[in-house]
Symmetry: C2
Amino acid sequence: MKISIVKIGGNVIDDPAKLQEFLMLFARLEGKKILVHGGGVMASKFGQQLGIEPKMVDGRRITDEATLDVVTMVYAGMINKKIVAKLQQLEQNAMGFTGADGNLIRSAKRPVKDIDYGFVGDVKEVDTELMEVLLEKDVVPVFSAITHDRKGNLLNTNADTIASEIATAMAVKHTVRLYFCFNKAGVLIDEHNDDSLVPKINEDIYDELKRDNVIHSGMIPKLDNAFSALHKGVSNVWLGKAENLILASKGKKSGTNIERHRYDLY
Amino acid sequence: MKISIVKIGGNVIDDPAKLQEFLMLFARLEGKKILVHGGGVMASKFGQQLGIEPKMVDGRRITDEATLDVVTMVYAGMINKKIVAKLQQLEQNAMGFTGADGNLIRSAKRPVKDIDYGFVGDVKEVDTELMEVLLEKDVVPVFSAITHDRKGNLLNTNADTIASEIATAMAVKHTVRLYFCFNKAGVLIDEHNDDSLVPKINEDIYDELKRDNVIHSGMIPKLDNAFSALHKGVSNVWLGKAENLILASKGKKSGTNIERHRYDLY
């Protein structure tokens, strides 16, 4: 089957009007589809209200037990279920999941080296069989960015990674398109100017832009995820604004299309 | 198929040791099974920490929007996902749901008469077909007490009612046993004395005990739910302590068995 996997980030989640607009577009997306959502600022907001201060080590967020409770409540509870209810209203048979549900995404607690990240998981396995059963029944899975280790622990997991891992696992048997919606028009030469969009990027261009420090910080793991998915069999990866999702799905000019040119030879 | 539907209440949820003990028993329960959990005191606790005071009218709790967010976070997020992760550790392929997920339980916002209960739902329809698909795949559905109206609203719903409604919907095609686990040994003549247990109750005895004010307050909706389920085709209803679940499932003496004697004649 053909499956679209769409990841939306905090900028869409945090703005009810934007979220509603996005969900209406997502509902129009044809064929089988899976949504993966990040958390946005709400977890930090609720955490602070509950007196739980974000813990950072070397600029990286640490997920202690109290923080894990908060992200589980906010991501898997409030955000996930609101999205599901709104998609149901749009006649999409959405079903919300963490990786623990149905053991759909098993991860391993990140080993402690220099930093103990706490309850953070690296994805190990996606159960494609159960997912296929659901997709065949026209269920639209909606994933929050939480997985588990099958040892009883829930684990905070990067939402981009979850989208990529689901995409690559499903790509073994199916044709998969992966859409990363975020707060920019795509890969930009000047990050403050949407007109500087790079409409197509391959690994040669990526390496060049990294070398010249045009692509840096948050964009690097995002694009690494994208290229990794392409290497592992995902057909297309797209990066752009949520509002351009339908254009992108119809192959019309918008956002950045990520291509594995370097691998086109074989 | 034979399906056991087990409802656990706040007294189990609020005590991590009791919850773990219960989940180990639940894992041992043979055959297809569905778990329904209430919320316990955690929602009130978090609500207060977030500055949301419980709203009561005539002794009844009102679910305003802020309260709905809190119960969604706590019931569908933290509690539901913790239970799922722990059941996964016990090699049960648990999958956590609200009624919104997969449109499994559709309800209607309670109409405003004397009291506006806010975002509270009365169950209208259970999707047994999708549930059967999951049960056949050995998935163990775990429901939190939240449903939706398919108009985009999540709705707070009584957990006993959810358990009864799932039971009666599944009873149309299957043999269903319904277990209500709560903080007492069963129906008691003296509510402070577990030795005053009524091992079997039918509607004649129920009417008598109500008339004599032996059964009152919270027990009445619980037993009404139980008898309603029996009338609608559920095979057995049991009421007792979570720790006696396995005994009850093997037909051994424990708790209160609820019988529809009055209807045995036809």
